[in-house]
C-alpha cells in the first residue's frame, strides 16, 4: 500500500513540474469588478455596484459586467484577477487599495487586458489608476458638522491609517474648523473596511467618550445607526446614507462612479483607451455632497451651498494653505497648494484631529 502512496506523490510532483499552459481564447467585451465587501454593504461596494448596474443599463447587451464579492486583499486577490484575465475578460476593475500589487503582477502577464485599479498609485501600459477628490465634499460635510456640534467634539470611525483615510479625516476637520475653531475630531481606527460589528463598537466607544456627531470612513452604515440609536447625529460616507438610516444623518460625501466607469469602458471598447491616472473632484461629478437633512438649519445649508458653488466655480480650493499639522506647525504655507503627490502619500493629521497615524 505504501507503493500507492509514493505513486500518488510522484504523479503530483510530475504535474507540478510539467504544467501545461492553457491557450487563451477570445470572447465578447466582458468586464469584471472585484469587490472587497458585498454590494449589500450600502456603502463603498454598494456605490461601485450601483455604477456597474447603471453602466449595464446604459450600454445594454454590448457589454457583460460581472462581479465577485468578498475578495480578501493580498495573495488571494491575485488569483482571482488572474482567473478573470484568463477567462477572457477584456477589462477588470479592482476596487480596493490592497488589490494594487496583485493587479500590477497580473497586468504584466496579460498585455491585452485592460486593468483599472481604484485608490492606488501604480500604473502600467495596460493598467490605470482612478480615484476622486472626495476631500471636497468631505470639507463641505465638515462645515455642517462644525456648525451642528454642541459638544465641540466630533467622532470619526476610520478603517485604516492609510493616506486615503487620513486625507478624508484632514479635510473633514478643515471644514469643521473653518466654522468652529474650537471643535476637535476624534479618530478611532477599526483596522477593517467591512465589519459591521467592529464599526458599531467603535462608534459606541466614541459616543461614550462624549462626541455628539459621528463621521466615518467605512463600508457600512453601522456607525450611523449606532449614533441614531443614541439620539445623536452623524455624517455618512460613500452612499447617501440619510436615505437608508434617516434624517439623523445630516449629509454624506458620496461617490458617483458611473460617470467614470461609463467613459473608460467606452474608451476601451472603442480601442482609444490609454493608461492614465484619473483623479477628479466635484466638478467632474465623480464625487458630490449627498442630500442635506431637514434637521440642518437653513442658514447652515446656505453656507454649505455657497461653499459648494465656489468649489464648482473654482474660486474655493480646499487644498490651498495655510494648513497646520497637529503640533501647530505650518505644513502648507498660505499662498501655496499641497501637491498631488503629497496628498497621495499623506501620513500626518491637521490641527484639530485627536488621534495618531500609527
Amino acid at each position: 500500500m505504501k507503493k500507492t502512496l509514493f505513486a500518488v506523490m510522484i504523479v503530483l510532483l510530475a504535474l507540478a513540474v510539467a504544467l501545461p499552459v492553457a491557450a487563451q481564447k477570445a470572447a465578447p467585451f466582458k468586464v469584471a469588478f472585484i469587490y472587497i465587501g458585498p454590494p449589500g454593504d450600502l456603502g463603498w461596494t454598494y456605490e461601485h455596484d450601483r455604477a456597474r448596474k447603471a453602466v449595464a443599463a446604459d450600454l445594454g447587451d454590448k457589454v457583460k459586467l460581472d462581479f465577485i464579492e468578498n475578495v480578501p486583499e493580498g495573495p488571494d486577490a491575485e488569483r482571482i484577477i488572474r482567473q478573470y484575465a484568463q477567462d477572457g475578460y477584456n477589462m477588470i476593475f479592482a476596487t480596493s487599495f490592497g488589490y494594487m500589487d496583485p493587479m500590477f503582477n497580473v497586468a504584466k502577464e496579460f498585455p491585452k487586458v485592460y486593468f483599472e485599479h481604484c485608490s492606488g498609485y501604480k500604473t502600467a501600459p495596460n493598467m490605470a489608476t482612478y480615484f476622486g477628490w472626495i476631500e471636497e465634499p468631505r470639507y463641505l460635510s465638515g462645515i455642517i458638522a462644525g456648525k451642528m456640534s454642541k459638544a465641540n467634539k466630533i467622532g470619526y470611525v476610520a478603517a485604516f491609517p492609510i493616506p486615503e483615510v487620513v486625507r478624508g479625516i484632514n479635510w473633514f476637520t478643515l471644514g469643521v474648523r473653518s466654522v468652529n475653531p474650537k471643535a476637535t475630531v476624534n479618530v478611532v481606527w477599526t483596522n477593517t473596511w467591512y465589519d459591521p460589528v467592529k464599526e458599531r463598537e467603535a462608534a459606541v466607544a466614541l459616543l461614550d467618550s462624549g462626541v455628539d456627531i459621528i463621521a466615518q470612513h467605512q463600508d457600512t452604515t453601522e456607525p450611523q445607526k449606532a449614533a441614531k440609536e443614541r439620539g445623536k447625529l452623524s455624517i455618512g460616507y460613500d452612499s447617501d446614507m440619510g436615505k437608508i438610516v434617516g434624517d439623523t444623518v445630516l449629509t454624506s460625501p458620496v461617490w458617483n462612479w458611473s460617470v467614470y466607469y461609463k467613459q473608460t469602458i467606452q474608451a476601451a471598447m472603442a480601442g482609444t483607451w490609454k493608461s492614465h491616472g484619473y483623479w477628479e473632484g466635484m466638478k467632474a461629478g465623480v464625487v458630490q455632497l449627498g442630500t442635506i437633512s431637514p434637521k440642518v438649519p437653513k442658514d447652515v445649508a446656505g453656507l454649505v451651498d455657497a461653499a459648494s458653488k465656489k468649489i464648482l466655480a473654482g474660486t474655493l480650493n480646499v487644498f490651498a494653505g495655510p494648513i497646520k499639522d497637529q503640533s501647530g506647525a505650518v505644513k502648507v504655507p498660505a499662498g501655496t497648494t499641497i501637491s498631488v503627490d503629497d496628498r497621495a502619500g499623506m501620513d500626518w493629521f491637521v490641527e484639530g484631529v485627536v488621534g495618531k497615524v500609527k
Binding site: T4, L12, L19, V21, R82, D101, Y121, I162
Partner: protein
C-alpha cells in the same frame, strides 16, 4: 442481513485513502442538495469548480500556491496532534515566521552575501515559528498550562504584531504612506516552478517524506508514538516526556513557520496584509483528513486548496453568493468526521464475522 461495527485491529492504508474519498463524495452530494435548493445546477457548479481548480495549467498552479502553506502547516499541526498537543496556533506561527523572514529580507541584505539571504530568511522564519510554538509548549511542559488557549491567543498577538510593523516602522518609505513593507530584494525571492507556484512545493513534499520517515522509522518517532498514546506509559519506558514534547512542538512550529517564510518570499514578496488568511485553521482540517499521516497531507492539501480555489467559480461562474463557497467548505467536514469512524471500525455482516473469527488463531476475548 444484519450489519454491525467491528473495531479494526490494524489500520489498512486502503481505508486511509478510501474513507476520505468516500466522505468527500458524500459531502459533494450534500452540497448538491443545497445547490439545488438555491436553484443552481450542481453538476455545472462542480464542473466549474473542477475546471477552476485543476482545469488548466494556470488554475493548477494557483491550487498549488494555496496547497503549499496548507501542506506545511498541515504537517506541523499533524505532528503536534500526534502527541495530543492541540496546537491551533499554526496561524500565529505562520505570521510570526513571515515577519521574521521579512526582517531578514529587508534588513540583512546590507551585510549578507545575496546568495545566503534566501536560506537565511527561510531558516530565521522556521526559528521564529518554532519559538512561537515553543512558548505554549514550555508553559505546558513546565507549568501544565493548557496549550489550546495559549496557542489560539498567540495567533492574535502575532497578527497584531505584524500589523504594527507594516503600518509602523517597516512601512515602505517609498510607498506613499500606504501599509506594507518595502518590496524584498530579488535575491531573497523564492524561485518559481510555474506561474506563481514556487519551490516551496518541493520543500513541502520533501518534508512530508522526511516526517513520515522520522515518525515511522526512527527511535525518535517511536517514542513520539508512545508519548502520544500515554504519558504514563512513556515515562515508564524511561522516555523524558517533557523534553521530547518540547522538541517535537518546536519542529511543529518550524514547519508552520516555513509556510510563513515561503509565503512572503514566494508569493507576496513583501510583508503586507493578507499573510494570514486562515491557513493555520484549515491546516487542522487537513491534519484530521490525513489522519495525521504526513504522506496523506500532500494530496489532502491539494484537494483542500482545490476546493478553496474552485470555490471562486461558485461566484464567478455560477453567480451564487460568496457565502455559498464557505458553506461548501464547511459541508465537507461533516462526512469527513463521520468517515473517520470507518477507518477505526469496519462494517460487516453478522454471520460472516462469526465465521471468519473461527478460522483465526484463538486469542483472548476482548
Amino acid at each position: 442481513m444484519r450489519l454491525h461495527f467491528e473495531k479494526r485491529k490494524s489500520l489498512s492504508i486502503g481505508a486511509l485513502f478510501l474513507v476520505p474519498a468516500i466522505s468527500f463524495l458524500a459531502s459533494l452530494l450534500l452540497t448538491g442538495l443545497l445547490l439545488v435548493a438555491f436553484g443552481a445546477d450542481p453538476m455545472a457548479t462542480y464542473a466549474a469548480m473542477l475546471k477552476g481548480a485543476f482545469g488548466s495549467g494556470r488554475a493548477f498552479t494557483e491550487t498549488l500556491v494555496k496547497a503549499v502553506p496548507l501542506m506545511l502547516t498541515g504537517l506541523g499541526v499533524g505532528l503536534a496532534f500526534k502527541l495530543r498537543f492541540w496546537n491551533i496556533g499554526a496561524e500565529g506561527q505562520l505570521v510570526v515566521a513571515g515577519v521574521a523572514a521579512s526582517w531578514v529580507a529587508l534588513f540583512w541584505n546590507s551585510w549578507m552575501p545575496p546568495f545566503l539571504l534566501l536560506p537565511a530568511a527561510l531558516l530565521v522564519g522556521c526559528m521564529a515559528g518554532a519559538l512561537w510554538a515553543g512558548i505554549p509548549a514550555l508553559l505546558k511542559t513546565s507549568l501544565k498550562v493548557d496549550e489550546t488557549l495559549v496557542t489560539l491567543m498567540l495567533n492574535y498577538v502575532a497578527i497584531l504584531f505584524a500589523e504594527s510593523l507594516y503600518y509602523g516602522p517597516w512601512r515602505d518609505p517609498k510607498g506613499f504612506g500606504f501599509p506594507g513593507s518595502a518590496p524584498f530584494p530579488d535575491s531573497v525571492l523564492l524561485p518559481h516552478i510555474a506561474g506563481r507556484a514556487h519551490i516551496g512545493l518541493y520543500f513541502a513534499i520533501a518534508l512530508a517524506l522526511i516526517l513520515w520517515f522520522l515518525i515511522n522509522r526512527t527511535r525518535w518517532g517511536f517514542e513520539l508514538k508512545i508519548i502520544g498514546s500515554s504519558h504514563k506509559a512513556a515515562r515508564y519506558q524511561g522516555i523524558s516526556v517533557e523534553r521530547k514534547i518540547l522538541a517535537a512542538i518546536l519542529l511543529s512550529g518550524a514547519l508552520c513557520g516555513l509556510a510563513g517564510a515561503t509565503e512572503v518570499t514566494g508569493i507576496s514578496h513583501r510583508l503586507q496584509q493578507g499573510l494570514s488568511v486562515g491557513y493555520g485553521y484549515t491546516a487542522i482540517i487537513v491534519a484530521w483528513m490525513s489522519q495525521l499521516n504526513p504522506l496523506a497531507v500532500v494530496p489532502v492539501s491539494i484537494l483542500m486548496a482545490g476546493l478553496l480555489v474552485g470555490g471562486d467559480q461558485v461566484q464567478m461562474k455560477m453567480g451564487l453568493p460568496a457565502a455559498m463557497s464557505l458553506v461548501m467548505q464547511g459541508m465537507i467536514l461533516f462526512p469527513m468526521l463521520a468517515g473517520s469512524l470507518f477507518t477505526e471500525f469496519r462494517i460487516r455482516r453478522a454471520g460472516k464475522a462469526a465465521k471468519d473469527a473461527q478460522t483465526m488463531a484463538p486469542g483472548g476475548a476482548a
